[in-house]
């Protein structure tokens, strides 16, 4: 299927649930859905559009909302599913039941942005160290790192 055919087919299948569909470049399709429709859209992509392969999940801090992008790849196109969740209620459903390989990426957004992924099979931290304090989410835009003073052995600090 070509890009245009995929876009048209998605419009037909999702109807009003597809808030926005964009095709900015060859083989790149961006689809926006509401958080409640996420699992349904992912299941549809897996079953009908051959998008069983999830490349990664990107989190973005947009100010009043967090944006999540799920990047899927089929043999003919790269479909990225976008949802927006409010900063005051950062919760999203887990897609691990549909795509088992999503577990590590969901753990990463949990610890980096503080987004609670509901239904995640394994909620532990992925990358941050064991002694990282709770409540500190490094990839949020308002989180700044203060570098501790460096000690230069045998020299001026």
């Amino acid at each position: 299927m070509s890009d245009i055919e995929i876009v048209e087919s998605l419009k037909r299948d999702l109807g009003a649930r597809a808030l926005e569909i964009a095709n900015p470049d060859r083989r790149r399709i961006f689809l926006k859905v509401a958080p409640a429709e996420l699992v349904g859209a992912v299941s549809l992509l897996r079953d009908k559009y051959d998008c069983a392969y999830l490349a990664t999940v990107t989190g973005l801090d947009r100010g009043e909302a967090f944006e999540l992008l799920y990047h899927f790849a089929s043999p003919v196109a790269c479909v990225s599913v976008r949802t927006e969740i409010p900063r005051t209620a950062p919760r999203v459903a887990s897609i691990c039941a549909v795509i088992p390989g999503a577990i590590l990426y969901e753990r990463e957004i949990q610890e980096m942005f503080g987004i609670a992924v509901e239904g995640i099979p394994d909620p532990r931290r992925l990358n941050l160290p064991d002694d990282w304090p709770d409540g500190q989410y490094p990839l949020r835009k308002d989180w700044k790192h203060v570098r501790p003073a460096e000690v230069i052995p045998g020299g001026k600090s």
């Binding site: 941050l128 160290p129 064991d130 002694d131 990282w132 490094p138 790192h145 570098r147 460096e150 000690v151 230069i152 052995p153």
Partner: protein, 139 residues
């Protein structure tokens, strides 16, 4: 000159422990490449050992991440005296491009005392061999 060097090396014949404290792996591959036939650090009697209890020299690479900091200190304490530390690569010296990252302490010398610095990103195997031999000369 070469005879004096090889004599020193045969007398000392240090056993090396390779420590990676969160690096990108380039310096580590160059350290292992120093063992391969082209650079061959084994002709100086240097052997790569796996456990800190047998090591004389610790070759450390990488900027120190928070998670591995305690383990590095522990490995340093487990190594018996006399021991020496060589910091290989720009990351081990000061953090290289990662300075300022939230999970990085800086160079290896923020955590354990260092005796020799080998610069480069990554340090070439010849530079590493040169650093090891110079350290042997100082002993």
């Amino acid at each position: 000159m070469l005879n004096k060097l090889t004599r020193w090396s045969r007398i000392k014949s240090p056993w090396i422990l390779h420590l990676n404290s969160g690096a990108c792996n380039a310096c580590d591959i160059e350290i292992v490449a120093a063992l391969t036939p082209r650079f061959d650090v084994e002709r100086f009697g240097v052997l790569l050992k796996a456990t800190p209890r047998h090591a004389d020299v610790i070759i450390a690479s990488g900027p120190v991440t928070r998670q591995i900091r305690d383990r590095i200190v522990r490995i340093y304490e487990q190594t018996p005296n006399p021991k020496f530390v060589i910091a290989v690569g720009a990351c081990a010296m000061s953090g290289c491009v990662y300075r300022g990252a939230y999970n990085i302490m800086g160079g290896i010398d923020q955590v354990i005392p260092v005796d020799m610095y080998v610069p480069g990103c990554p340090a070439r195997p010849d530079a590493i061999v040169d650093g090891v031999v110079k350290l042997l000369g100082k002993l």
